[in-house]
Symmetry: C2
Subunit: 434 residues, 2 copies
């Protein structure tokens, strides 16, 4: 609360002038006056780095230029190093380590780096008395780290889940609206720039998993264990499943879900069926949405843009402004050495309801075989949907189950898949009760 | 970032042990250990006050008891005084003034107090170097003040709007679902405890207006001018309008809307028609939702519980924890003396689209009279809906307009209301394009 009049502007070095780095420079230039008023001291870029010098649509006059981000980190006159290079290793990691070693605050949008090396980086930062901030790493412009760590500080947080990857949500939305196949929509998304040339990070769920691992640690105070996550992407979601979901009153979303249960922490990323009125079921296209649940606040839902130059820059600058104002919290909400190695609930022990689609030859007795397997594996059916009957041809048979254990479900599906009348591998999508 | 090990717990005195005060005590008792870990020092209640000593379901052993909140504020050993008495004047105001004068931080959930006296209180607090925090005053558990002031700190905020009163949203939801009249649903809400015995504060839009005035000041840095708000409640919303809204693809919500326009700041609370896919149209029952728009973040939507013992306590404790951690921001995001007296756009100059319902005797030429009036007042119709025709009887005639100026619309409706064939005052609901 001391007046900051007379304080020097906070000096910032920006490592990486790609999409997000460019957005950060543009924001700090465009809204400099407002930021000076709001932070009481202003934020001044002193240095920038990138591998190439070229026209990026903004001026870098007056900033020290470095081709090498690590050299900038070691040499530039800066209070804060903003790491926007990306990737869990290499220059991004070196910049953050070097900045902390030099006693500089670090702001990053790098979810892979935090998910894989967040514990070590946070320990180094807390030891050095500097900030390691990463609001932009999760859900873009949505201030979800701040909401969990500060807004819900008084709560026992029991669950956090959401739509954490805009590319997947865009693809699923397009598939639903147009009835087209995954591969077709992916190719279009790549042409439009909504998906990377190498789309695996997004469509295989890795990017969402990085974000979920971070959210779980901030929410529950558990250690960051990326290897403990169950991760599935959206490649196997088919138009026929999307159509059945609609018919059953569900919508298919790729969710990251972290729950604190009696048996341990459950962290999983996979396609889900949500009833259409569920809190994030209406969130379409490239938008992200995160739901946080606590014992006093009940449920908070936040939606917004999860990626892109300007929304991500908004979150990066929020972290910089917190540093400018001296607003600090422990990296993951509690001192990093106090994070608890809570047991990770294995996916095999997950309990839930399931949507199952079989492709069966319509032969006498086939449904009896299927139901016998389910009974033997203690999976109880809620409903069965069978459409066109054409003797000798494969027809989709759709079932929803009552709550069952994942291990039982997987075993039943394996056995059903081995039936001679099963002509395609059974498909399963988990139904979430939110 | 200095370690706070060895720091004393933050000492808190709670003024008012009603619903919210009780919730705060319960939270601080239930989650004391987690809060100590997260704040690095803990939060200790030292004193409480209320007019009556009675069993409230929690222990006050070990807290100094005061019957008089002002006396507590002046005498108790506390770093923070938490004002949960309520009301813009009287004890609530005196407690806050006395606490600041004594150099104590103030946390309050009191929207009326902040909306009416926030400027003077903030000036006193900033002068004394103490915090005046009020997260719980707006939208309950949703950390919207933090999101605007810190999360969107880098943005030029251009609009903030939302469902700010759970009682009204509950009543409108019930009216839509059951087709019943306002008065009937209100009586039921009162019986259930969702509405006060004196419901005017809620249903006449005053409570939502208090919150909107605060949001506008935090978002735009404009002076807090409660008198500049246009305020309408929901008493005139009728089942027939709700049914027509559904038919036209809209949902009726009481919104608070603040916009930064070229002509000044627009701040208005009134029933709105929202297309069903709009960002807050799906928010039903007692829930609140706030949308904030900025030039970099684009649009952030937050939903959650806007009232009640536990959600409000969650927000109060977030403010207390910020104080415990030394996380400070200027009361309204910028120093209070820098708030700008931006011109307030009068409602008469508002431009928008309108839903209009007339009750007309079905006589020859009546529609020609109506359309001539609209033409003369430069209001252009988009669509007309006229149902049953029964010569000599009053029938509803529903119209939607293209964008028009409020003053023209009001004049046209007054003239239409004066037509001999108009048997009820025309009803108008603004259509919002979100």
């Amino acid at each position: 609360m001391r007046s900051s009049a007379g304080q020097q502007p906070l000096k910032v070095a920006v490592a990486g002038l790609g999409t997000v780095g460019g957005g950060v420079v543009k924001l700090l230039q465009a809204n400099a006056e407002a930021l000076a008023l709001r932070t009481g001291r202003g934020i001044a870029i002193t240095a920038v780095s990138d591998r190439f010098r070229r026209d990026r649509g903004f001026s870098v006059d007056g900033y020290a230029w470095y081709d090498d981000a690590v050299a900038m980190t070691q040499q530039a006159d800066a209070d804060v190093v903003v790491e926007l290079i990306g990737g869990a290793e290499g220059a991004a990691r070196q910049v953050c380590e070097a900045a902390i070693a030099r006693g500089r605050h670090v702001v990053t949008a790098n979810k892979a780096l935090i998910a894989h090396h967040g514990t070590a980086l946070a320990a180094a930062a807390e030891g050095a008395g500097v900030v390691l901030a990463y609001e932009a790493a999760v859900a873009g412009a949505i201030p979800i780290i701040k909401a969990l760590r500060e807004g819900l500080v008084g709560n026992r947080r029991t669950r956090v889940f959401g739509i954490l990857n805009g590319t997947c949500n865009y693809i699923l939305t397009q598939m639903r609206e147009s009835g087209r196949e995954f591969e077709t929509v992916l190719a279009e998304a790549q042409a439009l720039g909504y998906a990377e040339a190498d789309p695996g990070f997004d469509v295989d769920g890795i990017d969402a998993a990085h974000k979920l691992a971070i959210l779980a640690t901030v929410a529950f105070g558990c250690t960051l264990e990326f290897g403990a996550l169950h991760i599935e992407g959206i490649r196997h979601v088919s138009p026929v499943d999307i159509a059945f979901a609609e018919e059953l009153g569900y919508r298919i979303k790729l969710l990251g879900i972290a729950s604190l249960t009696d048996g341990g922490v459950e962290r999983r990323v996979h396609p889900c069926m949500l009833r259409r009125g569920a809190p994030v079921a209406h969130v379409e296209g490239v938008f992200n949405a995160v739901v946080a649940e606590g014992d006093f606040a009940d449920r908070i839902v936040q939606e917004g843009r999860g990626a892109g130059e300007r929304p991500t820059a908004s979150a990066v600058v929020a972290d910089i402004a917190d540093i400018a104002c001296g607003r600090h919290a422990p990296t993951f909400g509690i001192p990093v050495e106090r994070l608890q190695a809570l047991p990770a609930l294995p996916m095999s022990r997950h309990r839930g309801c399931y949507y199952v689609r079989l492709m069966l030859l319509d032969q006498p007795g086939v449904l009896a075989d299927v139901t016998a397997i389910l009974r033997d594996d203690a999976v109880s059916m809620e409903a069965v949907l069978q459409r066109a009957r054409a003797p000798g041809e494969a027809v989709p048979v759709v079932m929803t189950t009552h709550e069952a254990e994942e291990a039982s479900m997987v075993q039943a599906l394996r056995r059903i898949g081995e039936l001679p009348s099963s002509v395609e591998p059974p498909r399963m999508i988990r139904i979430e009760p939110f």
